[in-house]
Assembly symmetry: C2
Homo-oligomer: 307 residues x 2
């Protein structure tokens, strides 16, 4: 097993970690309810001079919108401290000096982040009725735009057969960049039905394209790589705090960061035992450095005032 945090471990963390990366849902809050002790811990770490970043796979908010959500719940956050997949996708294309046009299967926040970097794209929302009609004929008069050299897929509630057809047709071209914000299969919500996540939308493009996209979100490493570059971070002095072993903790391991699993969200200690016993190299990346029942436990051990 990995170790539960103790007074000694908390001291070590305090000495050796300069940058804390927080997954949000299941760590800082659940839905819109702050998890008790999380607020004080984040504020306490900031007061100690630690850098704090909020890392989310969510592709439906811009950095500004996500910072607003943090602040509304009481967490000190500026746009520069937010790492979300809509922003990282746009930054990735900007960093590579992408000059073509992007076919986007996405949402308004993704469009906004692309616009902020001046990246050309096909727009957001339902397909134009004519295209939609042509696509529904299946073998149709659709024409491909030769300017398009990238397909970017994120959460899109207007996903349709014609969009799948167009996105897959572009993504199938060898010189086309194929990006996905993340591959979460569903949204973890307390409702009696399944809310399909971005992984569902991505599957509907990658299956016909017969090609895997480059994924920006956790457990892939691109989010951290962009952050690392922007802030000159040393992974050895970073700690990822998360509630999901197969996304948050796996990304930390893959980036050479320490990790802390909190038990206020998806993963359990028995999951960790299973991963550790599996002997599978992928599952080995799911095992955190430390665990805590909740984030407030770290705050308490560091002497912050936790009510």
């Amino acid at each position: 097993m990995c170790d539960e945090i103790s007074p000694n471990i908390a001291k070590e963390i305090s000495n050796n970690v300069d940058n804390f990366l927080f997954d949000c849902d299941g760590v800082l809050w659940n839905a819109n309810e702050v998890i008790p002790g999380s607020l004080e811990t984040v504020k306490g770490l900031k007061a100690l001079g630690k850098r704090v970043f909020y890392i989310t796979n969510n592709s439906t908010k811009t950095r500004a919108e996500y910072a607003e959500k943090c602040v509304k719940l009481g967490f000190p956050a500026s746009e520069e401290e937010i790492v979300c997949t809509s922003y990282i996708s746009a930054l990735y294309l900007h960093n590579m000096n992408f000059q073509g046009k992007i076919y986007v299967v996405g949402n308004p926040s993704m469009g906004e982040e692309l616009d902020r970097f001046g990246l050309k794209h096909t727009g957001i929302g339902p397909d134009p009725p004519d295209d939609n009609q042509a696509g529904l004929q299946v073998v149709s008069g659709l024409t491909l735009d030769p300017e398009i050299k990238c397909v970017l897929v994120g959460f899109d509630k207007y996903i349709s057969y014609p969009k799948m057809m167009k996105a897959a047709s572009y993504a199938r071209q060898k010189d086309c960049i194929f990006l996905a914000t993340n591959e979460d299969t569903h949204l973890p919500m307390d409702v009696p039905f399944v809310i399909p996540g971005t992984g569902t939308i991505v599957a509907s493009v990658k299956v016909p394209a017969r090609r895997e996209p480059l994924v920006m979100g956790k457990p892939e490493t691109n989010m951290f790589r962009c952050l690392q570059k922007a802030h000159n971070l040393d992974p050895a002095r970073c700690m990822m705090v998360g509630d999901r072993c197969n996304t948050d903790i796996s990304m930390a391991t893959n980036c050479g960061m320490q990790s802390l699993l909190v038990l206020t969200g998806v993963s359990t200690l028995s999951d960790v035992e299973t991963y550790k016993a599996s002997g599978d190299p992928t599952q080995a990346t799911y095992v955190p450095t430390y665990y805590a029942n909740k984030l407030g436990q770290l705050g308490k051990l560091l002497g912050f005032s936790i009510p």
Copy 2:
């Protein structure tokens, strides 16, 4: 390598095989063009007293519609000789005496085959506008129908986010049967864009449901099992003729049939070599018993008059 058919092999086939199962596209015809020699071979086999069946993963035609297509191209075919996934899905539910209601992601031919067996289902086509609107709200006022105990997914050009949400919600329920007609990723058509196949639609339901459907089509064995039951077939005296190793030939191997690969469609001899050398047990099922450059080669060796 597997053997190319020879005069001796053709004689053996003629002696030992009573039932010929033909994949159609790539074997009998390409798009709407009959492959020279195929017509005469099928007719010749029938004249020898062999039984002939047409086996297609296509879920967008009823048996009657598919028989009509065969006849239009000159192939002797009655409804009883057609095995298509819309029909097999309905037959599968009929055979198990399914009494609930079926949530269908599908097309009119699937609806027709279900109706013919008197199976209750939710209907075909775009989602009702109210449901669609509710689904697009993502966390919505959608209610699940407790009568629904089966999700059946086939080709559906009206696939939408609300449909994915509903289908996945039902399929996620443990007592719900989850069927897919087939999982072909795309339609093999000679057009400059990708036509997403039923596998794309299935992925958009199984990813959020986090569950694998029971697949009716090739390479799974359900199509043959239904045919076997209906006609009391001995697999050892059946031969599957196909152009795709990973569907047609794999199903034949999995069912204990002999198989003949024809090189007029998707798979090549070099594919066969790769599968044979792989040492992978799945790929081992892709290796046919025999191969022929085209179906007409068998007819010629059997002494049929091939122009």
